[in-house]
């Protein structure tokens, strides 16, 4: 049983915080999806060559996270077995009803995009993979299409650009919409704001880029591979830009609340200065915003004077802090918005539940799943580079050492 503590006058039915850690996790996961997808699109569609080393990985990462985006929602429903009602009898006036459709569209777009990006690899592996079983599996994955001629890859690329041009708005919609779920609740002054979708979207992009940057560096470091500093530098640039806009808008939002000082400001002010002081003022607005923005700025401005190693370390640290910043932001919105009563005269305390269906452990487990999935992907498809980077053991023996493994890369129409 949860223990909820109530101070002041709280409306009798508001003795609980209904949306808990899982609902904090849900926008966090979808946010990472949106951000990672945008990184991969910057390479695949906008030809940002610097991002090539992470272009495949970020796509797979977006997919892995998207696969588990529904879990926190399911875990939180009172009647999870009825979840499909959202698609069977959707209510057109409900923002939440759009979830199933937006989610499904986005999942399909991502799946096709990944298939197109990896098609040459899949075809190659379906012929040269080390075991019969795997060759069969890859053949299945290739859907029987084994044409990897230059012209066919070029037309793949066109489809990809087309998909990305739907995918980018879809990613923005998916996340802007999550913000709208909160922003459209006029009953709650801490949520109801037309800025919510914008803030959610920007912080989504920040968390996605940060996650790619962290994973890229961590995995390469652990595997003892060289880090492409060109690529990390580019990622840091984007991260810096989006973090600045994101934090600026978050600040504007709170300043606006304070300046307008509507009748609800009294309770919001109290909320920010007491209940959310650590998670909002200290973590979200100061430590995890100011430090990373400063560090990233320094790393970019003093690019020439700093060694790659130092710069990458600065990037890594900033990305970690920004990941915490975005998580704190989700927490402050979701939990913070439920910590005061709609009587505007009282507060609830939220004690994190560890065990239990909506507890911390379940949240951890769900958050771990995308990484495990990425691990599985990594056994099947190369996360980073093209075919040259395949581990030897993936391929069948007896292949000539100097075989021409390179497929014609579809030329970017630049």
């Amino acid at each position: 049983m949860h223990h909820y503590f109530v101070e002041g006058f709280v409306l009798p039915n508001q003795n609980q915080i209904w949306w808990t850690i899982l609902i904090v996790l849900y926008p966090y996961i979808t946010g990472i999806v949106a951000g990672a997808f945008i990184i991969s699109s910057l390479y695949h569609v906008f030809n940002k060559e610097d991002l090539k080393p992470v272009s495949r990985f970020s796509l797979l990462m977006a997919f892995a996270f998207l696969l588990f985006a529904t879990c926190p929602l399911l875990g939180h429903l009172g009647r999870p077995e009825r979840a499909l009602n959202i698609m069977l009898t959707p209510n057109p006036t409900s923002a939440m009803a759009g979830f199933g459709f937006i989610y499904a569209t986005y999942l399909i777009i991502l799946a096709i995009e990944i298939w197109l990006v990896y098609r040459p690899d899949i075809v190659y592996l379906s012929k040269h993979s080390s075991s019969m079983l795997l060759r069969k599996l890859y053949w299945l994955l290739s859907l029987g299409v084994d044409n990897v001629s230059k012209s066919s890859l070029e037309s793949d690329h066109k489809v990809m650009i087309f998909l990305a041009s739907i995918g980018i708005p879809a990613a923005c919609t998916l996340h802007g919409y999550v913000g709208f779920i909160f922003g459209a609740i006029k009953a709650n002054p801490w949520w109801s704001s037309p800025m919510m979708p914008v803030i959610f979207l920007l912080s989504a992009i920040v968390s996605g880029i940060a996650m790619v940057l962290v994973c890229y560096q961590a995995i390469h470091y652990l595997k003892g591979r060289a880090i492409d500093s060109q690529c990390t530098q580019a990622l840091m640039g984007y991260l810096w830009l989006f973090a600045i806009i994101d934090v600026a808008i978050e600040l504007l939002e709170i300043i606006n609340h304070a300046y307008m000082a509507n009748e609800d400001w009294e309770v919001l002010h109290e909320l920010v200065m007491t209940k959310l002081f650590v998670s909002y003022v200290v973590i979200q607005m100061l430590v995890c915003s100011v430090i990373p923005i400063g560090l990233l700025g320094a790393a970019i401005i003093f690019r020439k004077r700093l060694s790659d190693r130092i710069r990458n370390a600065m990037g890594f640290l900033s990305a970690m802090l920004l990941l915490i910043q975005v998580l704190a932001m989700r927490w402050n919105v979701v939990i913070g918005g439920q910590m005061f009563s709609k009587s505007f005269r009282g507060f609830l305390r939220f004690d994190v539940e560890v065990f239990g269906r909506e507890g911390l452990l379940v949240a951890f487990a769900i958050f771990l799943m995308p990484f495990i999935t990425l691990g599985i992907f990594a056994r099947l498809l190369p996360l980073w580079g093209p075919i040259e980077t395949y581990p030897k053991k993936w391929l069948r023996k007896g292949l000539p050492e100097k075989q021409n493994l390179t497929f014609p890369e579809p030329a970017h129409p630049s």
Binding site: F9, L11, P12, N13, Q14, N15, Q16, W18, W19, L73, H76, L77, G78, R79, P80, R82, A83, N85, I86, L88, T89, P90, N91, T93, S94, A95, M96, A97, F99, I181, A184, I185, K186, A187, N188, Q338, S341, K342, S343, F344, R345
Partner: protein
């Protein structure tokens, strides 16, 4: 005659016609809302659809003595789970220097006790208090129906807002969206729950349980489309308020003697 929904019906009958209604809507103050309702009630009873029933609820805060009979009756009638309330009573106690203490111990299930001494010590001697019973407002423009992803929340032809508990997925979005804290997730059923104005009784011609037991007639329930009903007369003859009118949900639960401190 083509069946009209209530909004269309209103649009056709109110004031000098559509325009007045539309503008009335845009700058909808409570008084105007009420005006809509009154003329609606008047015209409805004349001829067009005499048998039409639109329920309304009126709380006379001047009469309420905070005995909590209504809360107990409601719990018994509707099997409201422990710790939750379909209706409750709040007490507003006024101290010198404009300080107000609001409380509702156990939703007033056991009534109220005098304000604690320690409060008197810090806040001074209270000089005035009154009680405000609360329940679902059965709003005309309900955010709770609007946000429900599966369409489980709906409005009956009598204007009562109900929940189809066989369809509800228990997402609690409506609980968040209701500005009045009337909804909760029923812990036994895992679905949303709230006051139904005792739909099972009122459609049989009975009164809601809370209205039935109120010893001082602080709760009045009836058909507001019948201009001769008790509630219509009271609505006409009193200054009436609704809760959080600035949110534009247009509650059908109205209050007599509501003070600005009540939210």
């Amino acid at each position: 005659m083509k069946k009209m929904n209530r909004r269309e019906f209103l649009t056709k009958t109110v004031g000098t016609g559509v325009k007045t209604f539309v503008f009335g809507n845009l700058v909808c103050t409570t008084a105007e809302l009420l005006q809509d309702k009154k003329s609606f009630a008047n015209s409805a009873s004349k001829k067009e659809e005499p048998e039409k029933v639109i329920f309304g609820f009126l709380v006379d805060t001047r009469k309420c003595i905070g005995c909590g009979s209504c809360v107990r009756a409601d719990k018994a009638e509707n099997g409201v789970p422990e710790g939750f309330f379909r209706t409750w009573v709040e007490r507003y106690t006024f101290f010198p220097n404009g300080r107000v203490l609001v409380d509702s111990p156990k939703g007033a299930e056991d009534g109220f006790w005098p304000v604690k001494e320690d409060k008197e010590r810090t806040l001074g001697k209270p000089y005035h208090h009154y009680f405000v019973p609360k329940l679902c407002n059965h709003c005309i423009d309900t955010p709770c129906i609007q946000v429900c992803p599966v369409g489980a929340s709906f409005e009956t032809k009598e204007g009562v807002i109900l929940i189809d508990q066989k369809r509800c997925v228990g997402c609690a979005y409506c609980v968040q969206a209701c500005p009045f804290g009337t909804r909760y997730i029923n812990p036994e059923k895992g679905v949303a729950d709230k006051c139904t104005w005792c739909y099972h009784r009122t459609t049989q011609g009975l009164k809601p349980a809370c209205v039935e037991v109120c010893p001082v007639k602080a709760r009045i329930f009836g058909n507001i489309s019948d201009s001769e009903s008790e509630i219509s007369k009271l609505l006409r003859d009193n200054r009436v308020q609704v809760l959080k009118s600035y949110l534009g949900t247009r509650p059908k639960t109205r209050y007599i003697g509501l003070d600005s401190g009540v939210i």
